[in-house]
């Protein structure tokens, strides 16, 4: 009598996948996103800016005197969710909230020199991480991928 067949995949075999799952854009999108995000964190280390913090800083540097509301809209998140991100950037001395003469509700975001430097340094690291992770994609493939992702992004709800 043979020993009972194992009701599982031997770990030495390649992992199988549900065929229909693998054909879904959403599933592939998520799995690819996880790959890139993990590599981002590995590349930038513990002291580095998180993806969302880097994105916020990038926009604040590119568009000085942005308000938090507008920045939240650009990032596609709620105003309330941006508060912690700005708190972190301000605490790290990368930008500061400043009052605006014409509107006392608003706090314009002014990038500081350390913030501009941190942005430049982090951008270089992020580009290096992407270049290395995606070195098996040709330039045309990368451009095509961005083109297609932007086509999906056209459905972003601009609340």
């Amino acid at each position: 009598m043979a020993k009972p067949t194992r009701a599982r995949l031997p770990t030495s075999e390649p992992l199988k996948m549900a065929p229909e799952l693998e054909e879904l854009i959403g599933y592939n999108l998520k799995r690819a996103y996880v790959v890139v995000q993990k590599d981002y964190r590995a590349a930038l280390g513990d002291g580095g800016l998180s993806p969302r913090t880097f994105a916020a800083l990038s926009l604040a540097v590119a568009y000085p005197n942005l308000t938090q509301s507008n920045l939240a809209r650009m990032l596609g998140i709620e105003r309330s969710g941006l508060v912690a991100i700005i708190d972190e950037l301000e605490r790290d001395g990368l930008l500061k909230r400043t009052t605006v003469p014409g509107d006392r509700r608003v706090q314009a975001l002014v990038p500081l020199e350390a913030g501009i430097a941190a942005h430049r340094a982090t951008l270089a690291k992020v580009k290096a991480h992407e270049d290395k992770l995606l070195e098996d994609l040709s330039d045309v493939e990368k451009e095509t991928l961005i083109f297609l992702l932007r086509k999906i992004r056209r459905h972003e709800t601009e609340s």
Copy 2:
């Protein structure tokens, strides 16, 4: 004297973006993923399976008697993270944990009839949601996108 210039973007203008951010694959990937995920949830409603639960059910249906460890590996998550997902599927009567004769550590996952039906129905809804959301992409574009995302997924860490 003109009234002080507003230190923010008028909301009537199109939202600007940080140029370098828009060229990053990771950023576009995340934003596109959020679009698809939100549409998924809107399409499936409150009673529907979440993306992760649907993915787990798909694999459990495609490969009956899978163990939780193997399923977690296929999904690219930790064993501990899968427990809540299986709890939910079992609570909803979609599958059940069963003991395996040869190995008393293992709990094989057996899809129930309700689970097979729920999987089929949910798959149809998910396909409909993707078809509608991505109707502005041609079939070739969709295939290309999946091809490129899978190229990124080749870097998945198969721990």
